[in-house]
Amino acid sequence: MSLASNELRRAPGIAIGLGILISATLAPLIFNTYWISFILTQVLLLGVAAASLIFLSAYGGMVSLAQVALYGTAGFVLGNVVTTGNSKGLNLGWHPWLGVLLGIAIATAVGLIFGALASRSAGIYFLMITLTFAVIANLFFGQVTTFSGFGGISGVRTPGLIGEVDTHPNRLYYAALVVAVLVYAATKYLVRTPFGITLQGVRDDPVRMSSLGYNVPFHRMIAFGFAAFIASLGGVLFVWWNGHIDPASIDLSSTIDLLVICVIGGLYRLEGAWLGALVFVVINNYIRSVPGLGHIGLSEERFHTVIGVIFLVIILLSPGGLMGILGKGHELAGRLFPGRQVATSEAPAATSRRASGGPMP
């Protein structure tokens, strides 16, 4: 295939991406403050955290449940470093940017340790091991009053650039947007470097990569460290947005929520992170306005039943999530209108195989 036709094939995708980026930039002009400060900012930061999980799952074949714990670790470090006057925690009161740096550094280091421990397993074992890390991190912050304790850390200051989130919601929104775009670009770049290509080789056939002389656990560990880095960015944004972090923000239910976001969006496409986050947050906020749900016993408090059913339906119908459905629709359109150039999804043939829990032995 010539380069020109390759460019042409990707054109619709690029156009859609640019369209989304432009509308996201203009969003504060279109939407009201509630949508910007509550919904869209949350979508962006949850999407960043989800992107760390999808990066691991799509390119490393590792579905990790430790991402919320890592994101929380960054958040707790930030909270401990910058606040003063909390009843629990270290209350160091240092500069907000120093807190950000330390939060990211420590969460990435913890991620590397988790990665080193989990790197010799894959597929379903990886899921279980990372889940235990997540629950242990939650119990740790719940019990260790030196760093947090049950009530968590409140009153986390943002740097001057972001300012008061309540009075300037747009600043945090743009910060989250910039981080999201950077995370997306960096991940897309990373997977095309020699490291990223090796990682995808490890995903598809660890045994062959190992016999070719690649250090499989090492590549997995570094990928996990990178994902922890992304997750920690999400954690910093979360604490700025929320002003508060407590162990309940990283409990099992939040861990599963992030997985739900990724599965709804699609575990095998990076774009699915933000798509899933959008669907999740919008459902969470607007479930009360859906007519008829109350009659079958599903009220606002039963959000998790609704999201659980949606999650179940998506796994049963399309393991690739909404992005998978979109990709299939696109292919179908291509088949119906064969004259058109169609940008197929990256590796549709491999999706079903990867959906079965990593490479088959």
């Binding site: 379903i124 235990t132 890390f133 242990i136 740790f140 599963i256 829990g357």
Partner: protein, 372 residues
């Protein structure tokens, strides 16, 4: 010195270095374990009457304070009993079908709630404050627990038949399906049973302390009962797997599913039996755990964690591994919270992680794990 000699010395040096690097983790974890044992047995200094300072611990070392040491040991063994009952169901299902049942914690909690509600219905009182053990006869504990086990067994069997049977081999998808079911179950349980922690009452016969006549320990009979039940269930499972035809098929299926089914065995029936028994163990574990600790939102996650830790340590699919994993988890968690310096006992959760880390560093598949 000739070139050859120089090369030899260099190679030798490198060999020594590699060896040092290879044995460092062994030496480090060995030293840590030896220190922990010494600490508990001899070194720990008890806190004074006014409070704990420095590295003083709540309990003195085993040599000075054998009573508390023995009590902690029994605490560890008895918690290990409940961990084993719950985790053995998990490992049975995983070993045979490669299904990671993430709804195991939710099954546990639902089993506990069913037993709780049945017990209150049998006793005829449903107050928010629970029942006094003197009101409860032994059968009013046992029958609800058994019914709960059967109910959860049927629920698990239904889940397997409806959601898991048609996508065998897609491990991740199956795990995600069970996660979805656990989300729905957990949320519905909050809706129906409320958000307050409740516990199942022990029968009056068991709710007393027994003089062990060793080092003056008076120990709760209920906990010894748990230990006995766990040992009984372990033995029954072992006999079932080793001595009966179904058990034989299950063991063969753990090793090679396709071969067993090619030999004309109805593997689907075996899967159904294993799923029923595995889920029923979660339900019975819920009744045990609900009497031993409490039932409430979030409890499902904790027991899922215990099951996961036990099978990751012991090796997935191995019954013996589950027993060893449960013992290690029970002992480490109880001893670390009793023998950490008194002002720092809340760090004990770290030791669960350290235990997991040590096992994974040396045996990524667990102590008794075999590659699939």
């Amino acid at each position: 010195m000739s070139t050859a000699e120089a090369v030899t010395t260099q190679v030798r040096k490198q060999l020594v270095l590699t060896r040092v690097a290879r044995y460092t983790p062994w030496i480090l974890s060995g030293a840590a374990i030896v220190f922990a044992l010494l600490w508990v047995l001899v070194l720990a200094q008890p806190c004074g009457d006014t409070g704990c300072t420095g590295t003083q611990t709540n309990f003195g070392s085993a040599v000075h304070d054998p009573q508390d040491f023995l009590a902690t040991l029994l605490d560890g063994l008895t918690s290990a009993g409940v961990y084993f009952v719950v985790a053995s169901g998990f490992t049975l299902i995983f070993g045979l079908m490669r299904v990671v049942n993430m709804a195991h914690g939710a099954f546990f909690l639902l089993g506990g709630y069913i037993a709780l509600k049945l017990q209150r219905a049998f006793v005829g009182q449903d107050s928010a404050f629970g029942l006094l053990s003197s009101q409860v006869h032994f059968w009013q504990w046992l029958v609800p627990s058994l019914i709960a086990a059967v109910c959860i067994g049927i629920l698990g069997l239904g889940m397997q038949q409806v959601f898991l049977r048609w996508n065998q081999g897609q491990e991740l998808r199956q795990a995600l399906i069970t996660i979805a079911i656990s989300i729905i179950l957990a949320d519905q349980m909050v809706a129906h049973f409320g958000a307050f922690a409740e516990d199942i009452s022990w029968p009056g016969v068991l709710d007393r302390r027994l003089d062990l006549h060793v080092a003056g320990v008076h120990y709760t009979l209920t906990r010894l009962f748990i230990l006995a039940v766990a040992v009984g269930i372990g033995l029954a499972l072992w006999l079932w797997l080793k001595k009966t035809r179904t058990g034989m098929v299950i063991r063969a299926g753990v090793d090679d599913r396709q071969m067993v089914s090619a030999l004309g065995v109805n593997i689907q029936l075996t899967f159904a039996i294993a799923f029923f028994v595995g889920s029923a163990l979660a339900g019975f574990g819920g009744a045990l755990g609900g009497s031993f600790a409490s039932l409430g939102p979030g409890v499902d996650g904790n027991w899922l964690l215990y099951s996961l830790v036990v099978v990751i340590i012991g090796g997935m699919g191995s019954l013996g591994g589950a027993a060893v994993g449960a013992l290690l988890l029970g002992l480490v968690s109880n001893f670390s919270s009793a023998y950490l310096p008194g002002n720092y006992t809340f760090y004990s959760i770290i030791f669960t992680f350290v235990l997991l880390a040590i096992v994974l560093a040396f045996r990524p598949l667990g102590l008794f794990g075999r590659p699939a």
